[in-house]
Symmetry: C2
Subunit: 360 residues, 2 copies
C-alpha cells in the first residue's frame, strides 16, 4: 500500500476503493497515525488556513471567536489563532501568522495603521473586524458607530437628559468615529452646546481615570456615554465608590454588549450591542470569498447595532435626587431594576432586545 493511496484515503479524496479505504483507516487508527499538518500545508498550494488575531483580554473578542470557529469550519478552513496582550503587540501576533503562510487574515479589533494593512493586503486577503477604514486597502466588517451613538443619545434624550457627556476611547479611529457620532447625534437634538468630551480609553483602568476626571469637574451633566463596556465599568465603579449613584445621580451607557454585560443583570449596564456572531461569520465569509474568488467590489460591511436597556440609565430628575428619602438611588442597585421601568421612560427609544428570563 503506497503513501499516495494513504494520502487519498486520509483526505477523503476520490480514487480509492471502499475496501482499501476502510483497511487504511483501520490501520492508521491502530498505529495512531495522523497526517502532519506542516507537511500538508507545505505541499498544498492553498493552506486553507485562516489567521486570526485577537486581544486575549477582550471579553468582546471572546464573544467573536465562537462565530469565527464555526464559520471557518463551515467553509472548510482551519483557524490559526494569535493573541495580543499588553506585552505581545498586535504586530507581533500578525508576524507569527505570516510565517504560517495563512491564506488570509482576520484581524479582530485591529489597531494597526492603514498603511500597514495595505502592505499586508498586497500579500493576502485581509479583513478587519470592528473598525471602519478610511481607505479601501482592506475589507472591513463593523458596526455602524454613528447609529450606535445615535441610539445612545436618543435613549438618554428620551429620558429627559440634555447634559450628556462622552468619555472617549483614546487616540484611534474607532474612538474618533464614536466621538463624531456622538457629536452629530447631540447636534441633531439641538444639544450641540452641551457636547462635552472627556479623555478615556478602552480598558477598565482607563475608565478609572476618566471617572476621576468626571469627579474633578462634576459640572452639570446628568448622563455619560462611555466608549465601551470596559471603560463604562471603570467609570461606574469610581463614581459609585465616591457616592455618585447610578442612575440616580447620573445615567451611564456602555458599548459592545459583551457577553458579560448581557448576561449579568447586576452591573446591568445599558449598552449599545454589536452582533458578535454576525460580525464574525461575515468576516470569515468575506475572507474566504476573497481567497477563493478574488476581492469583491464592496469593501465594507456595516451592521446596525441595537440598544440594550439595562439599569444604569434612568430619567433625568435633578429635583428628586435632592430628596434622599425618596430618591431612586436610595434603593440597592439591583432592587431598583426589579421595580421595572420608571415614569418618564417614554422617549425616542429603539425596540431593544430583552435579557432572557433566567428562570424560563
Amino acid at each position: 500500500v503506497s503513501t499516495a493511496l494513504v494520502s487519498i484515503v486520509m483526505r477523503n479524496a476520490v480514487g480509492a476503493s471502499d475496501q482499501t479505504r476502510e483497511r487504511v483507516k483501520r490501520i492508521a487508527d491502530e498505529l495512531g497515525y495522523r497526517p502532519d499538518a506542516h507537511a500538508t500545508l507545505l505541499r498544498r498550494r492553498r493552506s486553507r488556513l485562516l489567521g486570526v488575531t485577537f486581544s486575549v483580554q477582550s471579553a468582546f473578542h471572546g464573544d467573536l471567536l465562537p462565530g469565527i470557529y464555526a464559520a471557518a469550519e463551515a467553509t472548510g478552513y482551519e483557524v490559526s489563532l494569535s493573541g495580543w496582550t499588553g506585552e505581545r503587540s498586535e504586530e507581533r501576533a500578525i508576524e507569527a501568522l505570516l510565517t504560517f503562510r495563512c491564506d488570509g487574515l482576520v484581524l479582530l479589533g485591529s489597531e494597526v495603521e492603514e498603511a500597514r494593512l495595505a502592505g499586508l493586503a498586497t500579500q493576502m486577503p485581509v479583513v478587519v473586524v470592528g473598525r471602519r477604514l478610511e481607505g479601501t486597502v482592506a475589507d472591513t466588517v463593523h458596526t455602524d458607530d454613528a447609529l450606535g451613538m445615535r441610539l445612545a443619545v436618543d435613549h438618554l434624550v428620551g429620558l429627559g437628559h440634555r447634559r450628556i457627556t462622552h468619555v472617549d476611547g483614546g487616540p484611534n479611529v474607532k474612538s474618533r468615529d464614536r466621538v463624531a457620532g456622538y457629536t452629530a447625534a447631540m447636534a441633531a437634538h439641538g444639544l450641540g452646546d452641551h457636547v462635552e468630551i472627556v479623555p478615556g480609553g478602552q480598558t477598565v483602568e482607563a475608565g478609572f481615570e476618566a471617572g476621576g476626571r468626571l469627579l474633578a469637574d462634576p459640572g452639570v451633566r446628568t448622563a455619560v456615554i462611555a466608549f465601551d463596556d470596559d471603560c463604562a465599568w471603570g467609570v461606574m465603579s469610581v463614581l459609585e465608590t465616591s457616592g455618585v449613584t447610578i442612575p440616580g445621580d447620573l445615567s451611564l451607557v456602555g458599548y459592545d454588549g459583551s457577553r458579560l454585560s448581557r448576561l449579568t443583570p447586576l452591573p446591568g449596564l445599558t449598552t449599545v450591542r454589536q452582533d458578535a456572531d454576525a460580525l464574525a461569520t461575515l468576516a470569515v465569509r468575506r475572507a474566504v470569498a476573497w481567497i477563493e474568488g478574488g476581492r469583491l467590489p464592496s469593501h465594507e460591511i456595516v451592521l446596525p447595532p441595537s440598544l440594550i436597556e439595562g439599569r444604569s440609565t434612568g430619567p433625568s430628575q435633578p429635583t428628586a435626587a435632592r430628596r434622599p428619602a425618596e430618591r431612586t438611588a436610595a434603593r440597592p442597585f439591583a432592587a431598583r431594576a426589579a421595580a421595572g421601568p420608571s415614569a418618564g421612560h417614554a422617549g425616542a427609544r429603539q425596540p431593544a432586545e430583552r435579557e432572557p428570563d433566567p428562570h424560563a
Copy 2:
C-alpha cells in the same frame, strides 16, 4: 549565495561572516522574505512549538494567556493556540494541535478524562493548568483548592456566619475538590451540621439556576460560597433582582479572582484569587523542562490562593436586616463599600491583597 547560508543567517546560527550576514538580512528585507514556518517545522527535529488549549469565553483563561506567551517567549518557544467553545469541543481543540506536531501541550482548565490525558502523555509532554489529577499521567499546575475553600469559610466564620452554603461547579474533578475543601473547612469550625451543597456550574447561566434554587428554599443560610466568579455573578444577579441584598441579607464569595473581578470595584466580589501569572509561567516552564530534559520526578505543583475581600461579604447580622431604615443594604451597592469595613470585621481573616487606588 546559497540557501544554506541564508538559513544560517536567518536563524542567527554560527557559521557566517558579519559581512554576508548583514548583506543577506538587507536583501531579505528588500524582498520581504520570511522563512516558512511549516517548512522549518517539518525539517526540524524539535518544533519548538507549544500547543495551548483554552476556553475562549473564560475570563480567567484570558488572564492566563499573557503569562503563557511571556513564558514561552522567554524559553524560546512559539505558542500554537487552540480555543474551545460551546460548539467546538476541547477534544477537537486538542486534535488540531496534534496535527501541528507540537513538542508539548499545555491545557488550560482541561476537563478531559485522565485516560485521555494518559494517552496524550505517551506521545508528548502534557501539562494541565488549574486542575488536580487523580493519577500521575500528566503534570499539573493548580491552586490549592482545599486551602482556597478554607480561606473562604474562615473569612465568613470570622464575620460571624455559621450557615454557609456552597454552590458547586457541577460533576467534575475540580468541583469535587472544592466541595471536599468546603466540607472539611466547615467541619474544622464545628459546622459540619450546617453543610449544604446546592448544584451549580461554571457559567453565569448556571449561577442563574442555582440562584433560583436558593430562592426556592431560602432556609436559614446567611452566606454562600460559589464555585467560581462566573457562577457567583449569576447567583448574585438573581438574588439581588429578587430583593435579597448582598451582603445585607446574604454574603457571597466567588473563586478565581479573574481580572474583571479584581479590577471592577462595582461587582466587588469577595473572591479566592488564583495567581494567574504564576500558574501560567510554571506550566510553560514545566512543559519545556519535560520536553528538553525528560519528565521531572514531581508531577504536581500546587500554589496557594489568597482571599480578596470585596463588598459582597459582611458581618452576619440577621437582626439589623429586619430594620429597613438602617439596614446596610438600604444604601447603594458601592456606597456601602466606601463607608469602609463595618464592625464585626475581625475574624480569622487572611492578609488579603488590596485593590490599587484608581487615583494613585
